[in-house]
């Protein structure tokens, strides 16, 4: 062995220096330095939005860093797009794999790697043979001649891994691969991941399940608020250490819960179940009470809210609103019962982008605005301008398309829309996501006032400080189940987070 190869042994496969990334004016990743060694399984951990996925996507050429450099085997590289990443031997495996559902498994494997003239013959026989070899190598039984459509997610992931092997990838990034898998499938995945590591490949493993990380990974890097907090050997860290590093940020002082009187039960959910999504969910929210619903993204919180509101009804269980138990199968029923739901994804589920602010605000009360089918403009205008004043929505004109407003003001307009229906129960799903700090504080005040006015509020949030500051009680969901019901006095970041982190599904 020469000195040169001995030296290159110690050179990290990937050396990232000062990687920063901004979207619009928001910096989501700040000066990250990180080395990935050859032949290791390296976990990236952090809360939702901490920057771990953004970092992974920079490696895979999906995003380009705003600042910073990357080196592969000591040589500086640019990774402008996913194809470049693949040529450099970097493959990103998405949680829900990207594939061509109408093409066969074998074709999906070779696609993008074939060379030669466009009218060149597709070597079906050779392609099928090679695909079978790859599947045998992975030890999975998938008929390579069948179309991708209809394969389970686990099998689709295996095809993606086989694709990474076919292009001889040296770095395989798995973004939350285990979330949609059954325990047995997770086990198979781990066996394969270890084997790939032992061949000298590097695996980046993004997961929320700390037990899985402990079991599988060699080193971990923890992200928080766009910064790298630590890179450590897994052997030196306990789960408690990891959780503390993930969430260790100061509580924001400006959030003050207003004292309110708590009244009768307004919303009662009993044994709500939608198989495969959430199970046996029971809780109550009283008038004047703010109940938080915490947990990680994908824990089923939004699904429960959608079920209560009748968007995607549950399979079994009951919802009682102000003493009336009804089978809600449509949002219009829920609205009539006094329920309002401000959805998480404002761009697709909330606003009518091209319509005016005025029309957006009055969209939930068509009967009031247009009693005979004819819109009463004056009434529409009065109601809208009242809302704008009350909620301090900043705009140029009521006739302005709502898409021109800032995210925070759009969100306020949607809240205004639901307040006009005079709801007794208000469900807010991540109401402050993507909103500036200043507007956030206003939102917190508003939520407090609404509760003080006797409304029952269910607040879904992934921001722990928000839950701690605003809520009278915090419910926590993990993997479709309620795992905690914590009173305000006992709620801490640690107690919420440890209820939110899924239990490992793999037998050790």
């Amino acid at each position: 062995m020469t000195d040169a190869t001995a030296a290159s042994r110690d050179t990290p496969l990937i050396a990232a220096r000062g990687i920063s990334k901004s979207f619009a004016s928001i910096e989501v990743l700040r000066d990250v330095d990180l080395d990935l060694k050859r032949g290791e399984i390296h976990a990236l951990l952090g809360e939702n939005g901490a920057g771990k996925s953004t970092f992974a996507k920079i490696l895979a050429g999906v995003h380009r860093p705003t600042r910073g450099t990357l080196a592969l085997n000591g040589t500086p590289v640019e990774i402008p797009n996913p194809i470049a990443a693949q040529k450099l031997g970097i493959t990103l495996i998405h949680q829900e794999p990207i594939s061509f559902p109408d093409l066969s498994v074998a074709e999906n494997l070779v696609l993008g790697r074939t060379v030669g003239s466009p009218l060149g013959r597709v070597p079906w026989a050779q392609m099928t043979r090679e695909a079978r070899q790859l599947m045998d190598l992975l030890g999975v039984k998938i008929d390579v001649t069948r179309p991708m459509r209809g394969l389970s997610i686990a099998d689709q992931q295996m095809v993606e891994i086989a694709r990474a092997l076919a292009s001889d990838s040296r770095l395989i990034i798995m973004d939350e691969p285990t979330a949609p898998l059954t325990p047995k499938e997770v086990e198979t995945l781990f066996v394969i991941a270890r084997r790939l590591r032992d061949e000298g490949r590097t695996i980046v493993f993004i997961s929320h399940r700390l037990e899985e990380v402990q079991q599988l990974c060699d080193r971990v890097t923890i992200f928080r608020d766009g910064n790298k907090v630590a890179t450590e050997e897994i052997a030196n860290l306990t789960n408690a250490d990891i959780i503390r590093q993930m969430i260790g940020r100061p509580l924001r002082e400006y959030m003050k819960k207003q004292g309110t009187t708590i009244g009768d039960v307004a919303l009662k959910v009993d044994k709500l179940t939608l198989p495969g999504v959430f199970n046996d969910i029971s809780f109550e929210v009283r008038k004047g009470e703010i109940v938080g619903l915490g947990g990680l993204v994908g824990a089923g919180r939004t699904d429960v809210a959608r079920a209560i509101f009748g968007v995607a009804p549950a399979a079994s269980g009951t919802v009682t609103i102000n003493g009336k138990a009804e089978l809600i199968t449509q949002p219009s029923q829920a609205i009539a019962l006094g329920l309002a739901f401000v959805p998480e994804d404002r761009a697709t589920a909330g606003i009518f982008r091209t319509l005016s602010v005025e029309e957006n605000i009055t969209a939930a009360i068509p009967k009031q605005i247009a009693p005979n089918g004819i819109i009463r403009r004056t009434l529409e205008k009065t109601l809208a301008s009242d809302s704008v004043r009350k909620l301090r929505i900043r705009l140029a004109s009521l006739r302005q398309p709502i898409g021109e407003l800032s995210g925070g003001n759009q969100q306020k307009a949607i809240l205004a829309r639901w307040l006009l229906t005079n709801p007794s129960v208000l469900i807010l799903d991540e109401p402050t996501r993507g909103i500036d700090i200043g507007v956030k504080a206003e939102f917190y005040d508003m939520i407090g006032e609404l509760a003080a006015g006797g409304r029952a509020i269910l607040l879904i949030s992934s921001e722990l400080p928000e839950l701690l500051a605003l809520c009278d009680r915090v419910l926590v969901m993990s993997e479709g189940r309620l795992t905690a019901n914590i009173a305000r006095a006992d709620a801490t970041q640690e107690s919420i987070m440890s209820a939110a982190v899924p239990r490992a599904r793999v037998a050790a």
Binding site: P82, I83, I98, F100, D102, L103, L119, V122, T182, G276
Partner: protein
């Protein structure tokens, strides 16, 4: 055993069964439907639509659509006929490269407009449907090119001569079908057409040359419409600026959709489209025989298209349902 099962489960089986059932029913009502003479009527109806349908199939698989094929056919036919009128000494076979070339250029323009301006193909080709028709009027001075200007040997290609088993236009259509089959299933570019239509978002990420594939399918569709154009002159012996190819796009798209090509892209087979064209041919041959007046025939066409789309959607939904109930897929 497995091979037989998968053959029976193929989507094309439905159309084949529909053709057989339709022919038996019509044959019972009007036995003359199954006579050799009538089969020849169907055989002569099929080739032009078949040729253009092969191109349209590729365009639809790539998740686009070409509404301009009728006008492309008309323009290519008119330019070729004008050439024969102005230069009667030109050998008739030179009409083929001219017609195909003109059609391919018009198709290329469609594809280029879709790519450059990022417009939906349905809008672009709706525009060129009228543009190309208008150009046909301008080029011809709104006058029909009559029989005497169409070369005799060209007209003979459609002749139903008893000593030939198949007329030339049927043989050309068969050749186009075989070439398309090879292109779609055995060439790299052909498979990339399926990939693009199956997942347009992922296609560029996987290194599929989206621009080249798009231009290719539109050029092929235009070129084949051009070929159908010169064969129109052969079959009918004249080219008229307003009639030639008018409404042709609807027959073609109907045949392709009936043949099981999904308008959502990614799905479609040559065999299915061939059967779709044959079914449409049977329907149009049967309607006059059954004494159904011409005024009602369009309505029947329309019904056949809608029924085919309903079946397409049902099959698709069932597939997706089977997929999601197979395991608890999270939303």
């Amino acid at each position: 055993m497995n091979a037989l099962r998968s053959l029976l489960l193929r989507r094309e089986m439905g159309i084949l069964v529909a053709i057989i059932v339709f022919c038996i029913i019509v044959g019972i009502i009007k036995p003359r439907f199954l006579a050799v003479d009538n089969l020849r009527v169907i055989m002569m109806f099929v080739p032009l639509i078949m040729i253009a349908a092969m191109g349209q199939m590729l365009v639809l698989i790539a998740r686009h659509v070409d509404l301009s094929v009728g006008s492309t056919l008309g323009f290519a036919a008119m330019m070729t006929a004008l050439m024969f009128k102005l230069q009667p000494d030109i050998p008739f076979y030179l009409g083929f490269p001219v017609a195909i070339g003109i059609g391919a250029i018009l198709g290329f323009i469609n594809g280029l407009t879709v790519i450059v301006f990022r417009l939906p193909a349905i809008i672009v080709t709706l525009g060129t449907l009228y543009l190309y028709r208008g150009l046909t009027f301008i080029a011809s001075g709104a006058k029909q090119i009559d029989r005497q200007y169409i070369p005799g040997p060209l007209k003979a290609m459609s002749a139903n001569a008893p000593n030939y088993w198949l007329p030339w236009i049927v043989i050309i259509a068969l050749a186009v079908v075989l070439l398309t089959y090879w292109f779609a299933n055995h060439s790299r570019l052909g498979r990339q057409v399926y990939a693009l239509g199956s997942n347009p978002v992922a296609a560029p990420l996987r290194g599929i040359p989206v621009t080249a594939v798009t231009l290719t399918v539109f050029s092929i569709s235009g070129g084949l419409a051009g070929l159908a154009g010169i064969l129109y002159a052969s079959r009918w012996g004249f080219v008229n600026p307003s009639n030639t190819g008018w409404g042709f796009e609807f027959q073609v798209i109907a045949a392709v959709v009936i043949g099981g090509v999904s308008i959502n892209g990614g799905v479609g087979s040559v065999l299915g489209v061939v059967l779709g064209v044959v079914l449409l041919g049977c329907v149009s041959a049967a309607l006059p025989l059954l004494g159904i007046p011409g005024t009602v025939q369009s309505a029947i066409y329309g019904l056949v298209i809608i029924v085919a789309l309903v079946i397409d959607q049902t099959v698709r939904d069932r597939g997706i349902k089977a997929l999601t109930t197979a395991r608890g897929v999270r939303t």
